[in-house]
């Protein structure tokens, strides 16, 4: 590069910021979201203070209740064991382990109101997995929904992405599918749809699963789960009656 070129190059780099725009509308929208989130961030603190004081009281009440049940069972001579067992999950696979907050549930409803059929996995091998950051991205012809699944320590368990691919051309779809097939380490079938499992090396192995239906494409990715676990998660996506 000559000196003139270098000056032009430095000038272009320096001016790059002026070429990137962010509408005031969008900026204000994020500002409102931030303000709301700051308020929410305060709330759990207050709630935890209440919990701190309430916990001993609740523990005492529960102790009384348990003692009462034992006392009554002695009096009526009925074995406790016959009075019921803890609730089991529907398919004995822990389908009730994924928690979704009300706010995230509302986000799903809003996305679905726009014609996107959200189908989230219902199973996680990790207890108390929570679905967070449920967001729709209206990218081009392929809008997609992304969700993060975290454990109780707020660590990533897996990520999920559902893309509406109904507007992708058939030729292009076939071409990409055959490439996915070639790249995948394992293929199996579930609900008449192929599941592609791929692992990516590195210091930590990323496990990915793709499922493609005529209307939607699903991607699951995880560093934490094993191949079998992430495949089980993929199988819990309710694909039946997907329009």
């Amino acid at each position: 590069m000559t000196k003139q070129e270098e000056r032009n190059f430095e000038h272009t780099l320096g001016n790059l910021n002026t070429k990137i725009g962010w509408s005031e509308d969008r900026q204000q929208q994020v500002r409102r979201r931030l303000a709301a989130q700051l308020n929410d961030t305060n709330s759990p603190e207050k709630a935890s203070r209440i919990r701190r004081y309430m916990a001993p009281v609740l523990a005492f009440i529960m102790l009384l209740a348990v003692t009462g049940v034992f006392f009554l069972s002695e009096v009526t001579d009925q074995p406790i064991a016959e009075q019921g067992t803890p609730k089991q999950s529907a398919d004995n696979r822990g389908t009730d382990q994924i928690q979704i907050s009300e706010a995230e549930q509302t986000a799903i409803e809003e996305i679905e109101a726009g014609g996107f059929e959200v189908r989230l996995p219902t199973y996680s091998p990790i207890e108390q997995t929570e679905a967070v950051n449920i967001r729709q991205r209206p990218t081009g012809n392929v809008p997609h929904v992304s969700v993060q699944y975290i454990n109780k320590y707020k660590e990533d368990v897996f990520t999920f992405q559902q893309e509406k691919i109904s507007k992708v051309s058939e030729t292009y779809r076939k071409e990409r599918l055959s490439q996915m097939e070639a790249d995948s380490d394992r293929q199996l079938e579930w609900d008449d749809y192929p599941i592609y499992y791929t692992k990516k090396g590195g210091t930590k192995t990323l496990k990915m699963v793709n499922i493609v239906t005529p209307q939607y494409a699903f991607t699951l990715a995880s560093y934490r789960l094993t191949a079998e676990e992430i495949i089980e998660v993929a199988k819990s996506i309710p694909l039946a009656d997907l329009n």
């Binding site: 032009n8 190059f9 272009t12 070429k19 725009g21 979201r33 990409r176």
Partner: protein
């Protein structure tokens, strides 16, 4: 110690002052406007949580850039693989279009932006902070938590890569005139 409300007020003030710059920095790192908005928001949330724990911030701008930088790099590390599938379907239709949408202006800027995005993350971040955002060597070192000598050497190598890519594409001719 400032009250939670005071901290909240600071954060909103900082948002008004720095959010545009932070957003543009993230866009240049990721080429994804949606993610850039999310990470911008998260940057200020992190700043709030940090200050709420009775910790003070001497230079808010550098602090916010460092937070944004950490979140962006974390995002690249954790989430880029899942984008692969998206890219599979987007490759032809959207990748070029998105660059055109983000960078409004002459073709030359688009070329530079595109080549910048193709560089590895360390080169990209140091070039953006030094040459686009205009931070000093010392500030860049503080944001990236590198030594000043590492900033200098990585910048030198990164600029070399970027220049050679632009030259290969014929963005600059041999007489020193731009071809646009």
């Amino acid at each position: 110690m400032p009250s939670e409300d005071t901290v909240q007020k600071y954060i909103i003030e900082w948002y008004d002052m720095y959010s545009m710059a932070i957003y543009k920095y993230i866009v240049k790192m990721l080429n994804d406007v949606q993610q850039a908005e999310d990470i911008t928001q998260e940057t200020f949330i992190r700043a709030y949580k940090y200050m709420k724990n009775e910790r003070s911030v001497n230079n808010p701008k550098t602090f916010l850039y460092r937070t944004a930088h950490n979140l962006t790099v974390d995002h690249i590390r954790k989430h880029s693989p899942i984008q692969l599938f998206k890219d599979v379907f987007f490759e032809r239709e959207d990748s070029r279009a998105s660059i055109e949408l983000i960078v409004e202006g002459r073709e030359e800027s688009e070329h530079v932006f595109e080549d910048l995005l193709s560089l590895k993350t360390t080169y990209r971040q140091v070039i953006i902070l030094r040459k686009v955002e205009g931070f000093s060597i010392k500030e860049t070192a503080s944001i990236l938590r590198w030594s000043e000598s590492k900033v200098k050497s990585t910048l030198f190598r990164g600029l070399g890569k970027l220049e050679s890519r632009l030259s290969e594409e014929g963005v600059y001719d041999k007489t020193g005139r731009k071809e646009f």
